[in-house]
């Protein structure tokens, strides 16, 4: 915010001539081209280059009016003219914040509204607003991923639903749920509407909070700015999963065989196709043919035959592949990840005058993925302009067009290339002796796939998406205090991608077919709003009334097709028509609409007593005829205590306002458009049948697709918020604190029906209840020591508690994510607990000897009265001992909550300042008190969890009779209930971390030579992102994005956040 500093210099009015100079309040520089009008006359002049003006023949009592686009109009009595300091309209804008369908003075806000410091936010080197916002706003929790272009998880004040809890974004008045392609450089202001008082006016879409964004507008003389950075991203390589080398890997196998044999009272039998049958395993020269040494006729290269582009089975069956062992070990992460460049270039031109304003910007962003063949390239252009016909009519547009090219890998699953980097054994090289891919072929080294092959084969897979997003509007001042605005906005998007599935030969489990697929989609979603705004001050009373109508329509199509059996795999040849095999295709359409009536009243008395009320009546096509409409009212009030007489003596207290709000918000995002209908449909894979016995064709069949529920209505949230805003001294300390309670009832949820219902989709019904309460705090401290030195500190603190209060009749919990635990789920959402908690058996130690097991079994017999009872299934020496919760026996009832991925709190700390021409900024972000489920350990810490890369822990820190104080249990040949086949607390780890998200040091060149070149600003900066992270988490990175509200915090193949080092420039003319 710019300071409100008026400096008047009194100059003597010399009879009828007045001279003066107009300067910019912000930088005290002269403003040329300001129109100076003698009020009530046609006499006018314009300031010259140095901002000065002269007017002759004036009445001494005349009033001068100073107008210039981009600045607030000011009136000064002619007798007082001298140096006139104009405040930029941006400064005025920053006092005014855009809230739902209106603007309010920041000091008059009664709802919980966070105003984002866009400048600070823009310091993060990311093309995504969400990524940039992490830690910047109290009450907002953002979880990012290192994968370029992967959307961050954006939550305002926790969870409002079992389904999606993404907030609603309103960009220049247009509602959208997608801001991934909005260029952050274009953002002028950003407000987060958190409570009902602020957000309820968005009715049925408000319940997860609303983010209001306005984009930049032009003003004043033409200004051209160029902002760019270029840098490098440095991934973690050098075996970050701490996997064993090939010899150790073989030793582990021997250890597991020995342990299992000994447990059965047998002698171990070592007969391994790769490592031989000696007492010590031997790393062979070749892994294919199995375990051969150099010189063996079987590895004669003359025998080698592989045709990587094979198209028929006979060819494949004749392959003779020869793969050398990589005795040093392949660092698959190192092969997969490498340093990669990142760059962004932003050019904008803006300006404005009496007749209108314009802003034009172009942005090119290119982040190469550290992971092979991934990247995020984006081209964005924006044009914002406004045209004024006279003082009363304005029309304009805000339009952005973006093109995105962003191939990504799927994250957080066991099959992605990152997971393959720990699942593929290090003895396997990347390539075989002839340069074709090597792998698990032959099936004796597990069944992982070669991640390098996966990434290299995808190099010609292409996809593009583009979106035109924005609005056009017209505004008419019908009366001085009554304005009508009509805005038509929305998005038109399309995307298309194509990919080729190669046949594989290097893996244990190969896909022998080749196929080519394309998909595409397009949609047109629009919002038309018509609003009347009346604002007036009567003495000490100020009132603003907004009323209007809004219609939202969404519709689009999706298309996909696939053909198999290509004669040639040349990417220039493969199309959907050139494949010789079966072709499949499919398409889908969507369509839904919303119609709303909106009203809002803001009233204040002397700026001291503030009242607000909003109401919205929404109708949605997704609901049945009887429940189409919902009404969402909210009330808020504020009291500026600091203006009261009894507080006046507290001089140190500059401002204090307490606020409160209560209201209802809705949610319909979790409802399928056809939920109200009982439907029948057909699906080739499921409902078609070869009734004619042809072996190669299917006949149309139908099945029930969905059980309809026409009675479904809005998910409704009762929201209470209390808070205060305080300023101490001259912005020495600014505090915004809020406490809130969100109570969601009629939560839309589709509980699983009994199996007797069949497989038709269960209806979404209004049954669940959930409560979230929390506390947001932001602190700011600004020290402008002098004009050469100043700094500021801002801190945000977010904490909330979530509790499921009910799910459905007879259903107290639902579980998700069984991963490799075969139907035993990791996550349980249970009444009385928060969402997505980890659940399973609690490990209390190891069984260190048979006597312990015998004693426990005795206990179990006593507890159950069953002479055959055992304490714990498959208990054995060296395995985990589970907690019995005092029951004397471990059963399914012994499972318990093991951890919570929701942090106790998260926080951001921003330290910034300047010293003369040097500026610096440090930004820390931290998460505290959450747990993560490190599923990677299932693969690496247990020998029997599929053959794959195993960890140091498995070999060197697993239980043995001589090493009982171990981390991992005894390594065996087969999995068991008491080691790795059920979810247990071994996988749960603390997820707390503190990260130096960003450091930036800049230098502004204030050189007259530069100014002479017409350069008004020239700044260079160096920057490091994600420089260090303090955490006890043993996985690659504790920030695990992705997952749904009811299942998150599981680390398996996560894409770690990567260090970045950048150099940047800000240049303007």
């Amino acid at each position: 915010m710019l300071c409100l500093l008026f400096s008047f210099l009194f100059s003597q009015a010399q009879n009828q001539t007045v001279t003066g100079k107009v300067i910019n309040d912000a930088d005290k520089k002269p403003i040329p081209g300001v129109t100076v009008t003698v009020k009530g006359t046609k006499t006018a002049t314009v300031t010259n280059e140095d901002g000065s003006f002269t007017l002759k023949g004036l009445d001494p009592g005349a009033t001068l009016q100073f107008t210039s686009v981009g600045f607030q109009t000011q009136e000064v009595s002619a007798s007082r003219a001298g140096i006139i300091s104009l405040k930029s309209s941006e400064a005025i804008m920053s006092e005014l914040v855009v809230v739902g369908y209106a603007t309010q003075k920041k000091r008059d806000l009664t709802g919980a509204v966070s105003v984002v410091d866009v400048t600070k936010m823009n310091k993060q080197p990311s093309p995504s607003i969400s990524d940039q916002l992490q830690g910047q706003v109290a009450g907002v929790t953002i979880t990012t991923s290192g994968s370029p272009g992967e959307p961050a998880k954006f939550r305002i004040r926790g969870f409002g639903s079992f389904g999606t809890s993404d907030p609603l974004f309103v960009v220049d008045g247009t509602q959208t749920t997608n801001i991934n392609d909005i260029n952050p450089n274009d953002i002028a202001t950003m407000q987060i509407l958190k409570d009902a008082g602020a957000a309820s006016i968005y009715g049925s879409r408000a319940s997860n909070g609303v983010v209001i964004i306005t984009t930049k507008r032009g003003r004043g003389k033409t200004r051209i700015a160029y902002d760019a950075y270029y840098g490098t991203q440095r991934p973690k390589v050098n075996n970050p999963y701490h996997l064993l080398n090939p010899q150790d890997q073989a030793n582990l196998k021997w250890m597991a065989l020995r342990n299992t044999a000994e447990a059965n009272g047998q002698q171990p039998v070592y007969a391994d196709p790769i490592y031989g049958s000696g007492a010590q395993p031997v790393i062979p020269d070749y892994i294919l043919p199995f375990g051969k040494m150099e010189g063996d006729p079987a590895v004669d290269p003359a025998k080698y035959y592989v045709n990587p582009n094979y198209t028929d089975a006979d060819d494949y069956n004749s392959f003779y592949q020869i793969i050398r062992a990589n005795k040093a070990g392949t660092d698959w992460m190192g092969e997969l990840f490498s340093p990669a460049p990142i760059q962004s270039h932003n050019l904008s031109a803006s300006g404005g005058g009496d007749q209108g304003s314009y802003l034009f910007s172009v942005n090119y962003f290119n982040q190469q993925g550290a992971l092979m063949n991934t990247y995020n390239k984006r081209y964005t252009v924006r044009s914002n302009s406004e045209y004024k016909f006279n003082n009363k009519v304005r029309i304009g547009e805000n339009l952005a067009y973006s093109i995105t090219d962003n191939p990504r890998i799927t994250i957080l699953d066991e099959g992605n290339p990152i997971s393959m980097a720990y699942r593929q054994q290090p003895i396997i090289p990347v390539y075989d002796i002839k340069g074709n891919y090597a792998g698990t072929v032959g099936g004796k080294l597990g069944q992982a796939t070669n991640p390098i092959a996966n990434r290299q084969r995808s190099v010609n897979n292409k996809g593009m998406s583009n979106r035109l997003f924005g609005n056009v509007y017209g505004e008419v001042d019908i009366l001085k205090s009554l304005t009508f605005r009509s805005s038509f906005g929305g998005e038109y998007y399309s995307f298309a991608s194509r990919w080729f599935n190669w046949p594989t030969y290097e893996n244990a489990e190969n896909s022998q077919s080749n196929s080519y697929s394309e998909n595409s989609g397009t949609g047109f979603n629009w919002v038309w709003s018509n609003m009347l705004t009346y604002s007036k001050s009567f003495g000490d009373h100020t009132i603003k009334v907004v009323a209007g109508l809004e219609a939202v329509n969404e519709g689009g199509t999706y298309l996909e097709a696939n053909t198999t059996n290509y004669f040639s795999f040349d990417p220039d040849y493969t199309t959907l028509t050139t494949g010789a095999g079966a072709a499949t295709h499919g398409s889908a359409r969507y369509s839904r609409s919303l119609y709303s009536q909106i009203g809002r009243v803001d009233y204040n008395y002397k700026g001291r007593y503030l009242l607000g009320a909003t109401v919205r009546r929404d109708g949605s096509s997704a609901f049945g005829p009887d429940n189409k409409y919902g009404v969402f009212p909210a009330f808020s009030a504020g009291w500026r205590l600091s203006d009261e007489a009894f507080m006046k003596s507290w001089k140190w207290l500059t401002d204090l306002k307490v606020r409160g709000s209560y209201g209802t918000m809705g949610n319909q995002a979790n409802l399928a458009a056809d939920n109200q209908f009982t439907t029948y449909n057909s699906d080739r894979s499921s409902s078609f049948y070869d009734i004619n016995g042809t072996s190669n064709s299917l006949v149309l069949g139908f099945r029930q697709g969905r059980y309809g529920n026409a009675a479904a209505k809005w998910e409704s949230q009762k929201y209470t918020n209390v808070g205060f805003d305080a300023t101490i001294g001259n912005r020495l300390l600014e505090i915004v604190a809020d406490y809130y309670v969100r109570r969601v009832s009629d939560m839309l949820y589709a509980p699983e029906l009994p199996g007797t219902a069949g497989a038709a989709s269960p209806p979404t019904v209004n049954i669940g209840k959930m409560r979230t309460s929390g506390f947001d705090l932001s602190l700011g401290s600004h020290f402008d020591v002098n004009k050469d030195f100043g700094f500021d500190i801002t801190a945000t603190f977010t904490t909330f508690k979530n509790k499921i209060e009910s799910i459905a009749d007879g259903i107290d919990y639902f579980s998700e994510e069984s991963r490799r635990f075969n139907g035993n789920n990791i996550i349980r959402n249970e009444v009385g607990h928060s969402v997505s908690q980890f659940y399973g058996y609690k490990v209390v130690g190891f069984w260190n000897n048979q006597a312990e097991i015998d004693a426990a079994n005795e206990l179990a017999r006593k507890a159950t009265g069953d002479p055959d009872a055992v304490y714990q299934t498959e208990a054995a020496v060296g395995r985990f001992r589970y907690d019995d919760k005092g029951a004397g026996i471990v059963t399914a009832d012994s499972r318990q909550f093991l951890g919570n991925p929701t942090p106790k709190f998260n926080y951001g700390l921003n330290l910034g300042g300047f010293w003369k021409d040097l500026d610096f900024n440090f930004f820390f972000y931290g998460v505290q008190g959450n747990q993560l489920w490190n599923q990677v350990k299932w693969w690496t810490d247990f020998y029997p969890s599929f053959a794959g890369g195993k960890s140091y822990t498995a070999l060197y820190d697993s239980w043995t009779p001589s090493h009982m104080n171990a981390k991992a249990p005894i390594q065996e040949n087969a999995g068991s209930f008491s080691t790795n086949t059920v979810p247990n607390s071994y996988y749960v780890e603390s997820g707390s971390y503190l990260r130096l998200r960003n450091v930036q040091i800049g230098w502004t060149f204030n050189n007259p030579a530069i100014a002479r070149l017409g350069i008004s600003r020239f700044r260079l900066y160096g920057q490091a992102a994600n420089l260090f992270t303090v955490t006890k988490y043993t996985g690659l990175d504790p920030e695990i994005g992705g997952g749904s509200n009811t299942a998150f915090g599981i680390d398996e193949g996560a894409y770690p956040v990567i260090k970045q080092f950048l150099l940047g420039v800000n240049l303007s003319f």
Binding site: A313, G443, N553, Y680, D690, S695, P754, D809, G810
Partner: protein, 589 residues
């Protein structure tokens, strides 16, 4: 003037908002996209398409269950759990099957839930046919009856599957409104009624070869009656079916001379087909869900041409069962006294000696073993195709494996594991003959029983049912020689055989014949359970097999518990209201 302005503005705005409001009604009506509602289907074409949908659920795929969990062959529940086969693969792969195989089935085992869901989706589809047929217009009465009879047949099939798996299951039909139906009533009468309706109302030839006819209904009714131990009623029905029955095309039921015809997609829907699930390859679904996806894991591993996944490995016990004596008769009590040579621990490039004793040739159409032609894929190499011999033995499945010569037509490699167009027999005529033999024997007609058994054995003995060596081992596609691949010797029971002189020995022989003929087809567990000999037979198997192979060590079959699988815990939970479930768990769980 000022007032006029106000007035005009306000009336314009009111008019605009009223106008918008009235058109909002239609604005908020959005059509159902890509779906239909019930009335659209209430006609002959619609009901027929719903019936096709009810057939489509037979394969257990994409119907809310799993892939292999709800395989229509019941290879896990019917065969792996009964000692026909090991789970296969290695220990860490699909561990819930290890538990099912060793009698440690737990209600929370997700496999049972998947199986349950898949069958009930089939039932729901049948109920849709019946419900919509009830309101449909313009269907000729005869056509309507046929549609209804087929739907009831299919419903009875799904319930039969549930009944043999779980015993007490809730009955849900087209009139049921409360889906939390209880499982406190035996549903055999309902199953019988549905099959009877189909038996009495369907004709001998069906409108399409994949649709069921009167005789399929009769055969299935007979099967249900045998399960219910209503032997004399069963005899009546079976006699009709055996004497007069035809397949859907109208061909009289018989056993083709070549045993393998049952598993060769080129020979599908032959005179042995009573009720088969039609499978396809490359039919444009982009996956193998209509092509035996339930068996996708069950192919040799390692450097085999199939790639995946080394499951479903026949047991040593099963292989030994095919030993025959000098008279070509099975060694019902002593088959395990000598083990058929196997190649455990012998690498593929090391020498191996084939078993030279007498064998029933059905062995080599049922089990892939070292040194014997694996259809036309070459001699089975043993070790190289097996994932972990010490874990689950040296053998490979065979009945579900397609032929190399016709793989372009009948196999589908679009997925990570193979699919095929091999039909699944729910009932084939050999099954009918053996069930009829059982019913006859129970009723004391031992001669008729022996005749039925001998029809089955005679086919096994036919020269076309033997496996022959390749003309040239290096070029298996060049065809087979006339030299049998092993020492085959199988013969019918001779007239006056003492075995068929007493009911007890006759039944034993019939039971054993079922094991040999229908091995690896998902029947044995249910047979052993209904015969009441599961505890002895399966525990005997654990004791024998566990000496050589590690996976089933520690297995045990508990009488009066393991005869049925547990009601899925998830279903008990989902059927509760106010803390009490309408479903009761089976005894012992």
């Amino acid at each position: 003037m000022k007032h006029a302005k106000y007035l005009i503005t306000c009336s314009l705005l009111v008019a605009a908002s009223v106008g918008l409001d009235s058109c909002s009604k239609s604005f908020l009506e959005k059509p159902l996209l890509g779906n239909l509602t019930e009335p659209v289907l209430a006609n002959e074409k619609g009901v027929t398409a719903l019936l096709v949908g009810a057939y489509a659920a037979l394969d257990g795929q994409n119907v809310g269950g799993g892939t292999w969990e709800s395989a229509p062959t019941n290879w896990i529940y019917g065969s792996v759990a009964a000692g026909d086969a090991h789970k296969g693969s290695d220990a860490g792969d699909q561990p819930p099957i290890n538990l099912i195989a060793t009698g440690k089935s737990d209600p929370s085992n997700g496999f049972f839930n998947a199986k349950w869901r898949a069958d009930y989706e089939g039932i729901a589809r049948c109920n849709s046919v019946l419900r919509v047929a009830g309101i449909a217009e313009g269907i000729a009465e005869e056509t309507k009856t046929t549609l209804i009879a087929e739907a009831r047949f299919l419903r009875a099939h799904y319930y039969f599957d549930l009944k043999k798996m779980f015993n007490m299951v809730p009955w849900v039909d087209e009139t049921t409104t409360d889906l939390k139906a209880p499982n406190n009533v035996d549903i055999w009468p309902n199953i019988e009624a549905d099959f009877k309706f189909a038996y009495e109302n369907l004709s001998g030839t069906a409108p399409a070869v994949g649709r069921v006819n009167k005789w399929a209904a009769g055969a299935y009714l007979g099967k249900a009656l045998v399960y219910e131990k209503k032997y004399s009623e069963a005899v009546t029905v079976f006699t009709d079916v055996i004497n007069n029955g035809t397949n859907s095309k109208g061909d009289k039921y018989d056993l083709p001379a070549r045993f393998e015809d049952n598993f060769d997609p080129a020979e599908k829907n032959n005179e042995e087909t009573v009720f088969a699930i039609q499978m396809v390859a490359k039919a444009g679904t982009g996956d193998i869900s209509s092509g035996n996806a339930g068996e996708m894991l069950n192919f040799p591993y390692g450097n085999s041409p199939f790639g995946c996944c080394g499951f479903y490995q026949p047991t040593l016990d099963l292989v030994n069962s095919y030993r025959t004596d000098a008279n070509g008769l099975p060694m019902v009590d002593t088959y395990n006294s000598v083990m058929v040579n196997n190649d455990i621990g012998i690498k593929s490039n090391e020498p191996f000696t084939l078993y030279s004793g007498n064998l029933d040739p059905r062995l080599d159409w049922t089990v892939g073993r070292r040194g014997i032609p694996y259809k036309d894929w070459g001699n089975h190499p043993g070790y190289d195709w097996i994932r972990d011999q010490a874990f689950s033995g040296p053998y490979a499945p065979k009945k579900n494996v397609y032929w190399q010569a016709t793989q372009d037509t009948y196999s589908d490699r679009i997925s990570w594991a193979p699919g095929s167009a091999i039909n699944i027999h729910v009932i084939r005529f050999a099954d009918v003959l053996l069930l009829a033999a059982e019913a006859e024997a129970q009723g004391g007609s031992l001669t008729t029983a022996m005749a039925y058994v001998n029809r089955v054995r005679n086919r096994a003995a036919s020269p076309q049912s033997a496996v022959y060596k390749y003309i040239n081992d290096a070029t298996p596609l060049a065809g087979f020689s006339t030299t049998p691949a092993a020492n085959y010797n199988v013969k019918p029971y001779p007239a006056g055989s003492p075995i068929f002189a007493a009911k007890e020995t006759a039944l034993k022989a019939i039971y054993f014949e079922r094991k040999l003929e229908l091995a690896m087809e998902g029947h044995r567990y249910f047979d052993l359970s209904r015969w009441g000999i599961a505890p002895t037979e399966i525990n005997k198997f654990f004791a024998y097999e566990g000496t050589y192979v590690s996976d089933i060590r520690g297995g045990s079959f508990t009488a009066n518990k393991n005869e049925y699988f547990p009601i899925p815990q998830n279903q008990i939970d989902l059927s509760s209201t106010g803390g009490t479930s309408t479903l009761t768990q089976n005894p012992g769980y």
